[in-house]
């Protein structure tokens, strides 16, 4: 009676998601067997690696399935890889930290995997329903992860703040989707985009309100000003590895959605470029200005992550293939160096009684020269110094802006990146320039952490010096846009 064949089920398209889900199940199943507790993290990594492999197999094989609910193109593959890599690095960062802090639970990895899966769902869909669900699958575990240190008041607070505001924003997103649906009769972005002209002429206000609210829903996730104020509190309160993950993966997912929305969904909505322009300027400026006087490294990095979202918004404002490629590249780069920076912060915070205040960094360069050097590398990359990949990313973004004729925006961007130099250098200053008489507490490296640091540092520097391949990939990611 009911014909299922029209669902066009093709597991190939969602194989990475399935891999993650399977891994999550396995973890949930074995997690509480004491003898197998040690393999939880490896299982997560195996799952992620499998997913990575499956995702890379999807490269250059654009396809669509599940009645158009799943869109698998290079763009989505690129983002999937970002999410997977971010998760893998997060596992490396988190492992020791959670143990030391006494909050190690196997569910953490399951939630991480599910959240990652949600992001992948977001990235590989051009349907608002799936985007919404993906967003929720991503967010619900994130709320939990933020509050994961149940005994920590800060973590509690971070969780509840994130949850309330996240759900609040979801409601707006849903309202936006409803209006878009009302205007165009569909939730498929491609069809919305195709019918946009018609929709605008028939129901202009539905379209506009829908577009604006949908955009806001995702702008919340990427922490665009003025939808950003949850970021510092949540980032500061959440366990640091979680913060690391927050600062990178959900942001990238939000951008994946926004990029799709902007490039294929909300085309021809007249106000959208200006909105992006204003959001970009506000986000960069407010993020940077607020970061200037922060004395807590995590909180500073939180504001800095707002500012970085602003740079990517510059690409969105500029529009065009190059801009999207630039955004992809920037997010890859940002994933590397921001996770790296948080890895160092985590490492330092693993020592007891530390709260990641700037002052705790004093003497780092003397007692831990390599760690200090790596931290400095990440800071310089965040600030956009060549030859790090941070510079390359900014360069590409701003050149996309200039190419699009947004020279003013590029100038505002570079002036902001000038401001950011100040506070990133404060970290470098704290670790190199400030002298202290107190001995520096021991830092204990875990193998995972070392690996994370090596990968992120090598990536930050290596991709900055030899970026050709990365550039090609990011350009290819835009080529076969479905």
């Amino acid at each position: 009676m009911i014909d299922f064949s029209s669902a066009a089920i093709s597991f190939d398209l969602i194989s990475p998601e399935i891999a993650l889900l399977v891994a999550a199940f396995v973890i949930l199943l074995i997690g509480h067997l004491r003898s197998l507790a040690r393999v939880v993290a490896p299982v997560a990594l195996i799952g992620l690696m499998t997913a990575l492999g499956l995702a890379s197999a999807q490269w250059d094989r654009p396809a669509s399935g599940f009645s158009g609910m799943v869109t698998c193109d290079n763009f989505s593959v690129a983002f999937k890889m970002i999410f997977i890599v971010a998760s893998m690095l997060t596992v490396g960062i988190a492992h020791r930290f959670f143990k030391v802090k006494g909050i190690a639970r196997p569910e953490f990895y399951a939630l991480l995997l599910i959240s990652t899966m949600g992001m992948m769902v977001m990235a590989s869909s051009a349907d608002l329903v799936v985007l919404f669900l993906g967003l929720e699958i991503m967010s619900v575990p994130l709320y939990v992860m933020a509050a994961f240190a149940r005994r920590s008041l800060e973590s509690n607070e971070a969780g509840i703040k994130y949850f309330i505001l996240g759900a609040f924003a979801s409601a707006f997103l849903l309202m936006g989707i409803a209006f878009l649906f009302g205007a165009s009769g569909t939730t498929d972005l491609r069809r919305i985009g195709a019918n946009m002209h018609f929709a605008v002429s028939r129901f202009p206000l539905y379209t506009y309100v829908g577009a604006a609210l949908t955009l806001i829903g995702f702008a919340f996730k990427i922490a665009a000003v003025p939808f950003h104020n949850w970021v510092p509190d949540v980032y500061q309160g959440a366990p640091t590895p979680v913060t690391a993950y927050f600062s990178v993966a959900p942001k990238a997912a939000g951008f994946a959605a926004l990029l799709r929305l902007a490039t294929i969904g909300l085309v021809d909505v007249p106000a959208i470029p200006v909105v992006f322009w204003v959001l970009a300027v506000l986000t960069m400026s407010v993020g940077n200005i607020l970061a200037l006087r922060q004395d807590n490294v995590k909180r500073m990095l939180a504001y800095s992550s707002i500012a970085h979202a602003g740079y990517v918004l510059v690409a969105l404002a500029a529009g065009g293939d190059d801009a999207v490629a630039a955004a992809v590249l920037y997010l890859v780069a940002y994933t590397l160096f921001n996770l790296g920076a948080f890895a160092v912060v985590t490492l330092l915070e693993t020592r007891s009684g530390r709260r990641s205040d700037m002052s705790e960094l004093a003497g780092l360069s003397r007692s831990r020269p390599y760690l200090a050097a790596v931290l400095a590398l990440f800071m310089f990359s965040l600030a956009g110094f060549p030859p790090t990949v941070g510079f390359l990313g900014k360069f590409y973004i701003f050149s996309a802006a200039v190419k699009g004729g947004f020279i003013g925006l590029a100038v505002i961007g570079v002036m902001n990146s000038f401001l950011s130099v100040y506070y990133y250098l404060r970290v470098v200053k704290a670790s190199y320039l400030d002298r202290t008489d107190q001995p520096f507490a021991r830092v204990s490296y875990s193998p995972g952490m070392v690996l994370v640091l090596l990968i992120t540092a090598a990536g930050t520097l290596g991709l900055g010096i030899l970026p050709q391949r990365l550039l090609e990939l990011s350009q290819a990611a835009v080529q076969a846009f479905l």
């Binding site: 003397r366 110094f385 701003f398 050149s399 590029a410 000038f418 470098v428 050709q468």
Partner: protein, 528 residues
């Protein structure tokens, strides 16, 4: 080998920095020796470069042009002409001396310090070799980081403030330069259909007048901060005073040159019309810098900040000569860059020597030092004289050519500029008098030991250069001249093209008829 020599010179110090990583932290002597050896070999390589350089050839030599990031049109394009050749030599020589001078004064963080020095050297040489704007920018920023550390970690009491100020000032300008570079990329693309950052190609691209004004402004801001031109100079005294001796030497000796080099390599040939339009303003700012720097230097209480302000004044000469836009002025300007590197570098070195002994640089703390340290006083005197441009020292040749060239371009400028020569004598000699002459009043000064052999070895090469350039500058000048002519021909040809096409020039704000005719005469003269 000959093909790769530039790459070798650039990256050899960086390899050295890598090697330093392998040496244990505690083995200070090995660290020092290794970095000295690496810097020394780099210096020898640069000498070899000098030896192979063909002074008669036009254009770039030892060019390397490899693709780097193809999708953005970025190339690994290196090459030197006479101007950059000399600046490279200056860099390598000063670095060796700096490493020597840091031998005893750096006691903490030795490894980091010498690594910073070597990376800094790489960055500086890279700036002088790069012929690709992107590459140029990368090196330009690259040298910021080690300098930040050198000032910030091993500097004086206000080192943090100075280091941040230094970085922020430089970044402020260079980021706008980045936008301009990006703009040029696309402008060149729409002109030729190819993405390229190649300076040599972009030089041949006609750019609309209005765009030139903006682009020149963006580049000039970055360079002007570095030079520094008058109102943008306030980072310099702080950075100089707080930096350790070697930092000051490199800062004054090479980093300031990068600004002037940027003008001559990028601003002038790429934006000739804008050059003419900005010319009066930059010249006037340069003049203000000359007088202002000298006057402010006069009343400084700290020897280093005195020398720092004197740098402002001297770099004013460099800019003045460059914007004379004739062979004499520009040649003088380039030579003056070298001279300033030698003289001011030497000044900082000698100041550092006494600082090591007394741990103060306040002029009032000294007096009668000539009695206690006669050899030191003699070296200091020579360096002082070179700084005030006494004939047969290097300073004279440069200043003379600068003023001579300026005089041709604009007599009033030259007259005002020449008065800076008087003021230079005032502040330098007054300082010298207060430090060296008179009776030894402070007890701490009674038992100062005279400079030892290491310190002499540091100073002797510089003093030798002071006299070499002062007495026989021909080898330098003959290498500078073709390059300078090349730059001028770019400026003049394009400006001439433009004046045929449009009447911008005749409406240009400096359109004093007499001056214009003077300049156009010079155009022909230079081409002949």
């Amino acid at each position: 080998m000959e093909r790769d020599i530039l790459t070798l010179v650039i990256f050899f110090p960086m390899i050295g920095a890598g090697l330093l990583l392998l040496v244990p932290n505690a083995r200070h002597d090995s660290l020092k020796s290794l970095s000295l050896i690496m810097a020394f070999i780099t210096m020898l390589l640069s000498f070899w470069l000098y030896a192979m350089f063909d002074p008669l050839a036009q254009g770039m030599q030892f060019e390397v042009n490899l693709p780097w990031v193809q999708s953005l049109g970025i190339q690994y394009h290196l090459g030197v002409d006479g101007i950059s050749l000399l600046l490279i030599l200056l860099t390598t020589v000063l670095t060796v001396l700096c490493i020597l001078s840091s031998w005893n004064s750096i006691t903490t963080g030795v490894k980091g310090y010498f690594m910073s020095m070597l990376i800094l050297e790489s960055g500086m040489i890279g700036v002088f070799c790069a012929l690709d704007l992107f590459l140029f920018y990368v090196f330009w920023e690259l040298m910021l980081v080690p300098m930040y550390f050198i000032i910030g970690v091993w500097g004086g009491p206000r080192r943090v403030y100075a280091a941040i100020k230094f970085v922020l000032f430089t970044m402020c300008g260079s980021l706008l330069m980045l936008v301009a570079i990006i703009y040029l990329l696309f402008a060149y693309h729409s002109y030729s259909g190819v993405y390229s950052f190649d300076m040599l190609k972009i030089m041949d691209m006609p750019i609309p007048y209005r765009a030139q004004l903006w682009l020149f402004g963006a580049f000039a801001l970055a360079f002007a901060i570095k030079v520094p031109i008058f109102p943008l100079h306030t980072w310099l005294p702080d950075a100089h005073v707080e930096a350790p001796t070697a930092g000051s030497v490199i800062l004054a000796g090479v980093l300031l040159k990068m600004g002037a080099y940027g003008f001559i390599r990028i601003c002038l040939p790429m934006f000739p019309q804008a050059t003419l339009a900005y010319l009066p303003y930059i010249s006037i700012l340069a003049l203000i810098a000359i007088i202002y720097g000298a006057l402010v230097a006069m009343v400084q209480k700290d020897v280093k900040s005195l020398v720092a302000f004197s740098s402002v004044s001297h770099m004013g000469f460099v800019m003045l000569g460059m914007f004379a836009l004739n062979v004499e002025g520009m040649e003088g300007s380039v030579l003056q860059m070298i001279n300033h590197g030698i003289s001011t570098g030497a000044l900082f070195l000698v100041v550092g020597m006494i600082y090591e002994r007394r741990h103060t640089r306040l002029i009032s703390e000294f007096g009668g030092v000539a009695k206690v340290m006669p050899t030191y006083a003699a070296f200091f005197m020579i360096v002082t004289l070179s700084s005030i441009g006494l004939p047969f020292t290097n300073g004279f040749v440069g200043e003379f050519l600068v003023l001579l060239g300026t005089f041709k371009a604009n007599r009033v400028y030259a007259v005002i500029g020449a008065s800076g020569v008087i003021l230079a004598a005032c502040y330098m000699l007054w300082m010298y008098q207060r430090v060296f002459f008179g009776r030894v009043t402070a007890d701490e000064n009674k038992n100062l030991r005279d400079i030892d052999w290491r310190e002499r070895i540091i100073l002797i090469p510089l003093v030798a250069l002071v006299f070499w350039i002062g007495i026989y500058p021909k080898p330098f000048l003959e290498r500078i001249e073709p390059s300078v002519r090349q730059v001028l021909s770019h400026v003049n040809r394009q400006a001439a093209d433009a004046s045929e096409k449009s009447d911008h020039l005749s409406q240009a704000p400096d359109s004093d008829g007499c001056e214009n005719s003077l300049r156009s005469c010079d155009v022909k003269g230079a081409l002949r």
